[in-house]
Structures are given as C-alpha cells and as structure tokens.
C-alpha cells in the first residue's frame, strides 16, 4: 500500500510535468491555428472573414491528409467519417446553445436513442419472440402510457383539492401494478427465446437508412418530455433534467434486454453500403484496385469508408444548408433575439418557452440522427460504451471551440476536436515515454504513468475548453 501511495504522489509531480507539456502543445496548436488564419487574412484581402474561415477548414484538411500520409488512409478516413458525425452532433448542439442559449447536458442520451432507432428499424424481426410475448409487451407499454396520460387528464380536469391529488396517486399506483403484471410476463417470455443470439423482439427489418430519421424522431420525443417540464424554469434546471434523462436512457438500454439485448449488444446491423468481403469477391473491383496499384483488401476497406463518407457528407451538407437558411430567416433572427434578451422578446409578444421547446426538440433530433448514423457505421449497438464525457461534453468542446452560434464553426469544431481527441492519446503516450525515460525499466511509477496516459485526453479537453472560454469565448469562427 505504501509504495502504491508513494507512486501516486510521485505520479502527481512527474505527471503534471508531462501533462503540461501535452496541454501546452494542444493550446499552442490552437493559437497557431488562429494566427495562421489571421496571417492568411492579412496577406490576402484585408479583413475578409470568409477567407480566414476557408483557411481554417483547409488547415483541418491538411491535418487529415497528413495523418493519411503518415498513418495510412484507412485511419484518416476513419477519423474523417467520425468527424462528419461529430460535426452533425455539433450542429444539433449549436442549434440549442448557439441559436437559443439552451444548455443541454444529455446529448449522450439523445445519441443513444438515435442508435436505438437504427436498430429497431434495421434489424430483422424475431418471429418466435413476437409469438412468445411481443403483443403482451406492447400491451404493457400501452397500459403504462395510458396510465400517465390518464393522470395528466385527471390533473387538468378535476377541481383543485385533496381529492384530485389522491385520485391521481391512486390511478398511478393501480396503473403501475397493472403495467408490471402485463409487462413482466411478456418480457420474461421474449427474453427466454434463444437468449444467446436473440432474446429480443428485433426490429422492423426495413432498410437501415430509414432508421436514421426514426432515430431522430425517438430523440425528439425524449426531448419533448424533458423540454415540457424543465423549460421555462431556470437555465440550470434544464441542464440537470437533461443530465438525468441521459442517464435513464442509458440505464433502460442496458437493462431492457427485450428491447435491444441490453449489454449483450446488438451486432451485425445491416449496412447501407457494400461489405468488404463482397467487394473482394468481385472480379471487377479487384481488377480496378490492382490497376490503381493497391492491395484489394485495403482498397475494399477504403471503398466502404468512402461510401459512408459520401452518405454522411450528403446529410451534413443538407443539414448545414437547412441550418444556415433557418438562421438567416425571420425565425433565426427571432431565436437570437430571444437568446440575447428574453424579457424584450417576450414584451414583443414572442412565446419564449414555446420557441425554446421547438429549438430544443430540433437540436435533439439532429443529435439522434447523428447517433443513428454512428450506430450504422459501427454496425452494432453497445449501450455499455456510452460515456457522458465522450458523448456529451466532448460535443460541447466542439461547439465552443468552433464558435457557438455559427454553423460553420460547429462543423469545424467537430472535425478539429475529433481529430485532436484521436491523436492526443498517442501523443500522451509519447510524452509519457519522454518524461519517464530516466526511470528504470519496469519501475512501478513508469508503468503507472504509462497506464495513465489514456486519461490525459480528459485533462486536455478540459484545459482546451477553459482556455477557449476565457481567451476566445466566441470560438474559432465567431458568430456574425
């Protein structure tokens, strides 16, 4: 125990050294980005913001190309594809924060719901499970929904008083036990059907691309519930309510095996693009790859990634165009007016809470769409891997670093921060090696520091967020 404690104390000292080197490197990179962009502006037409923004995007492109040239195009395309998805998530969050000033801490939940949407649409239905208890599960859910709806109606219709409170409680209690009675037996029957490979109801067996808007709709539904209760109150309350709904969504997805197999994961989601194996079996593809001087196996994997990139790119461009149009429209001006001064906007007859609800649902739906796309890209739904630091707060860093209120800023932040997120880990391991080289091989401290390198990412992202908020709160591409 003692040595462990001592190791930890020494780790603070050495780790801090190594860490600040890493943090400083990232900070320097960001400062260099801005300076470089300004340099381009100064040398070109003076004060041309568009040129500066184009330069920023060009820099990100150069970073990606550089990683492609040094680490392989497969890696670079992998980063690019997730960068596209991150950019869409950042667009969604930018609608909520940048347009309307709403602080959503539950992005993870909406992203996970989107993934669920992809599974429920794309996977083939499990006929035996439906026969065993599918209808009973649905009936149970219907009873649950009817109970809640009944309670709401009761609350609105009955006169104020003790009778109203008690009858609502009675309705909820009776409804809850009825729900559990119908639902539990159905769930048990469904989960008993071949639990090792299915044990769930499966999906609708539709093309997985339809699952993308379905994922967005699921996220929008959850956003409506949260927004209806927490909007119109203090801004902090929305943050806490979204934090809660995200945890609950993940808990439901981990534990309700009948829905999407819980922590047993749904794997083998159908793809909207060809499989690598099929490409490798296609004579014409192999011939083309050979003609281009590429290994057919690597070429097939790159081709699949390019197909995904094309699909994601279309979605991103469409969303970006829509977001820009919305921001420039009277609706966008109204949203920003509400954000900047709620009291004045309300005095002008704008229904602030309603508009907030609207934009909150829209932004969450975009996050859900991105979540469905990510699950499609992965080909599997793994509820255990949803971490708030990765899926909620990283997206926030993207929006704030990129430039809140500016759609292009959000997209840039999505690409840039995702690139850093992937590259900081090897950088951290590398810094750790340099810091620990004087230590003897196999010393406990050296091992501990090597293991800890993975957590440098969290530290770095926190430092980047704080530095940007403090010294450049408008981000890399500021709002116009």
């Amino acid at each position: 125990m003692n040595s462990m404690g001592m190791v930890a104390v020494q780790a603070v000292v050495l780790g801090a050294l190594g860490y600040f080197a890493g943090g400083a490197a990232v900070a320097l990179l960001l400062v260099a980005l801005r300076l470089l962009a300004f340099g381009v502006t100064a040398s070109g037409a003076a004060g041309r913001a568009d040129l500066r923004n184009a330069a920023l995007f060009a820099i990100v492109a150069v970073l990606l190309v550089y990683s492609g040239a040094t680490q392989g195009w497969n890696v670079a395309l992998g980063i690019f594809n997730m960068g596209l998805i991150s950019a869409i998530m950042a667009l969604g969050v930018n609608m909520q924060w940048g347009y309307a000033g709403l602080f959503n801490v539950g992005i993870m939940g909406f992203v996970a719901l989107g993934g669920l949407g992809a599974v429920l649409t794309g996977m083939p239905p499990v006929a035996e499970a439906w026969a065993a208890g599918g209808l009973r599960v649905l009936a149970g859910l219907a009873i649950g929904a009817a109970t809640i709806a009944g309670a709401v109606v009761l609350w609105k219709r009955m006169a104020k008083g003790a009778a109203r409170g008690w009858s609502m409680v009675a309705l909820l209690v009776v409804g809850f036990f009825l729900f559990r009675f119908v639902f539990d037996a159905g769930v048990a029957a469904v989960e008993a059907v071949n639990p090792a490979s299915t044990g769930y109801l499966g999906g609708l067996g539709l093309p997985v691309l339809i699952g993308w808007p379905v994922g967005g709709l699921l996220a929008a539904g959850a956003a409506w519930i949260v927004g209806k209760t927490a909007l119109g109150l203090r801004s902090d309350y929305l943050a806490i309510a979204t934090l809660g709904i995200a945890e609950i969504v993940i808990a439901v997805m981990k534990n309700e095996d009948w829905l999407a197999r819980g922590v047993k994961n749904v794997i083998g989601l159908p793809r909207p693009v060809p499989y690598e194996v099929n490409l490798q079996d296609t004579a014409s593809f192999v011939q083309t790859a050979r003609d281009l001087g590429m290994d057919p196996v690597e070429a097939s994997s790159i081709a699949v990634k390019l197909c995904y990139a094309g699909l994601f790119g279309i979605v991103l461009i469409a969303l970006l165009w829509l977001s820009q149009a919305a921001l420039k429209s009277p609706w966008g001006r109204m949203m920003r007016a509400i954000r900047d001064n709620e009291v004045a906007a309300e005095a002008m007859g704008k229904d602030v809470t309603r508009r907030h609800l609207q934009v909150f649902i829209l932004g969450s739906a975009v996050c859900g769409l991105a979540g469905a796309m990510m699950t499609t890209l992965d080909g599997q739904l793994t509820p255990g891997t949803y971490q708030p630091l990765r899926f909620t707060f990283l997206i926030w860093v993207m929006v704030i670093v990129g430039g809140s209120g500016n759609n292009f800023g959000a997209v840039l932040g999505g690409f840039l921060i995702w690139f850093l997120w992937i590259q900081v880990e090897p950088m951290g391991a590398w810094v750790m090696q340099i810091v620990t080289w004087p230590l003897p091989e196999g010393s406990m401290l050296r091992d501990h520091l090597a293991d800890s390198a993975a957590y440098m990412r969290y530290l770095t992202m926190g430092v980047v967020l704080l530095l940007v908020l403090r010294f450049s709160p408008r981000g890399l591409i500021p709002e116009k």
Binding site: G15, G101, F176, E247, L465
Partner: protein
C-alpha cells in the same frame, strides 16, 4: 404474522442503508446549495470534487497505514480526513483564483459559469484517474461491525438479523456533527452571517462593507470540507470508484433542488427524501411482506417496484415532479 421480524428486516435493508446514503447525499447537496447561494451557479464539478477529496484522503490513509498509525476500532481514513480537506480546499481556492474569479468579475451569466464548471469537471475527472487510476480502491480498516448478524441474533433470539456496519454508524454520526457545526457557523458567527447576507442580497451586503472575495473564499473552503467528508463517507460505506462520483451528481442535484436550491435545511431534507425513496423503491419487499402476511398469503414474486439499475430514475422522477408542481423546492429556495 411476525411483525417483529418484519420490522427488523425493514430496518436492516431499508432504514439503516437509507439513513447512511441520505447522510452522504445531504452532505453533497449542502455543498451544491452553498455554491448556488453564494456564487449563483450549479457546480457540475461537485461530484468530481468529492472524488478528488476522497482520493487525497485515501492517499493519506495509505501513508498512515504504512507508518503504522491507526485509529483503533475506527477507520484510519478519519485521521486522514483533515489533510484531505486541506488539499481539496487548496485545489478549490486555486480553481477559483485561476478560473471562476474572472467570470465573477465580468458578471457572466450563470449558464456560462455552469459550462466553465463542466470544464473544471473534465480536469478533475482526468486528475483523479491520472493519479489513482479508474479502479476500485479499498481503504476501510478498523472494526467492520458495531454489531454483527450473529451478535444481534444471539441477543434478540429473532430469525432476522440487524447489522450495523461501522461505516454506516460513522456516516450518520459524522454527518450530524458536520451539519451542527455548519449551522452554528452560518447562524452564530460573524463570518457565517456575512455569508448569509451575501447570499440574500449581494448589493446590500457589498454596501454594508462585506468583502465579497473573503466570503467566496470561505465558501470554497466549506464546500471542500463538505465534499471531502461526503466523498470519504461514501467511499467507506460502498467503495471508492471514480466514475461512481460522477453518477452521484444527479441524486445530489436532485436533493438540492427538491429541498430548494440555496436552502441548507432543504438540502438535508432533500438528501434523505431522495435516499429513502431510492432504497424503498428498489428494495424487494418479499421478505418483509412474508413476515407480515397471514399464513398462506406470502407473495410469490420479489415485490420489487423497480430494479436497482433504475435507481437514477427515482431521483429523476422526484426531480421532475418537484419541477412541475413546486419549482422552488420544498423549502422555498432562491429562485425559479
């Protein structure tokens, strides 16, 4: 019918764990509510502050253990606690100086401070994992039980056993001591009164010559003490795993809001309300009902309202109900 055994079973599985958990939540919620009252934002880094305080205390505990210093039947962690509080207080004061002060001077909107606290949370989260790693750490020592299952059965002659673990007893006693000290400080001392004045009306407090930076510094020190004590007690009672402290954020916030943000009494009431609801709703009542029901009427199922995996849903549901029907909380907190 065997009501005595039913009561003992209920106490053993619901009342005692609920009281210990409630005390931990109450201490956490007091920290959140104090920051809200004085600094006027919801501090998302609070869960990770608790983890940091617990971690420092664990490191000191290990050092003491290696030097052969113990605390008899009590866990050594209690001896290490003051050192943990001191280091955490230094960290929080440093964070305030480096991060929060800038925004305070700018009079930034609360939501900006919330986002800033998210950045601080990231850093603390990484720091804790960096230093002690993400794994489970055991640091409890001393006597395990105040009275064990066998002691109780021999003493009472009942079928059911009542177990009181040392960590549970210490949690409740420590929480009571800390809360009494805090209320004495807030209500009786000059500094405490200046804090309450600052919380009630900042401008008026400034006019009466209260030094805001001093009030803020003292708040951070008290918050460090509360967070460290809460974190250590939680770690002693369950075990220390860094990610659990982030998850505590939701019940802690729910407690503070249910009680009324900015109201210390409300934070305590909220903590116990949330804790008892969580434990009651997720406890399988089969045993208790089995003793209470007349012969032949024992329930077949577990009689568990919700599986323990959904304990977050309980705090969330209570939070939603309070937001819908009484957004200022049970004890009329500061604002809507």
């Amino acid at each position: 019918m065997d009501p005595l055994n039913a009561i003992v079973a209920l106490a053993n599985y619901v009342l005692i764990p609920g009281a210990a958990y409630g005390a931990q939540l109450a201490l956490g919620a007091l920290g959140v509510t104090l920051i809200y009252g004085i600094l006027r934002f919801s501090n998302f880094a609070h869960g990770d502050t608790m983890a940091f305080g617990a971690m420092v205390t664990i490191l000191f505990t290990w050092a003491f253990q290696s030097w052969g210093i113990g605390f008899g039947v009590l866990p050594t962690a209690l001896l290490a606690l003051p050192f943990g509080i001191a280091v955490t207080a230094l960290l929080l004061l440093g964070t305030d100086r480096a991060v929060y002060r800038f925004y305070r001077r700018q009079k930034a909107a609360p939501v900006i401070l919330v986002i800033v606290s998210v950045g601080v949370m990231f850093i603390m989260n990484g720091l804790v994992r960096f230093i002690i790693g993400p794994d489970d750490q055991q640091f409890a020592d001393g006597a395990r039980f105040v009275f064990s299952a066998r002691d109780f059965k021999e003493w009472s002659g009942l079928d059911e056993a009542l177990v009181l673990r040392t960590s549970q007893a210490i949690t409740v006693v420590t929480a009571v001591v800390v809360v009494i000290a805090l209320f004495w400080f807030l209500n009786r001392t000059r500094t405490g009164k200046s804090m309450r004045a600052f919380s009630d009306n900042e401008d008026l407090a400034l006019l009466s010559g209260i030094n805001p930076e001093r009030v803020v510094a003292i708040t951070w020190i008290i918050v460090a003490a509360l967070a460290t004590v809460a974190g250590v007690l939680y770690g002693l009672d369950k075990s220390f795993r860094p990610f659990v402290y982030f998850q505590l954020l939701l019940p802690v916030f729910a407690s503070a809001i249910v009680g009324g943000l900015g109201s210390p009494v409300g934070a305590i009431a909220g903590g116990f309300l949330i804790a008892f609801s969580e434990v009651t709703v997720t406890y399988a009542f089969k045993k208790v009902l089995g003793y209470l029901a007349p012969g032949g009427w024992e329930p077949d199922g577990l009689v568990q309202l919700l599986s323990t995996d959904y304990k977050f849903a309980v705090s969330f549901a209570i939070l939603i109900v309070v937001l819908l029907f009484r957004p200022t909380g049970l004890f009329r907190g500061k604002s809507v």
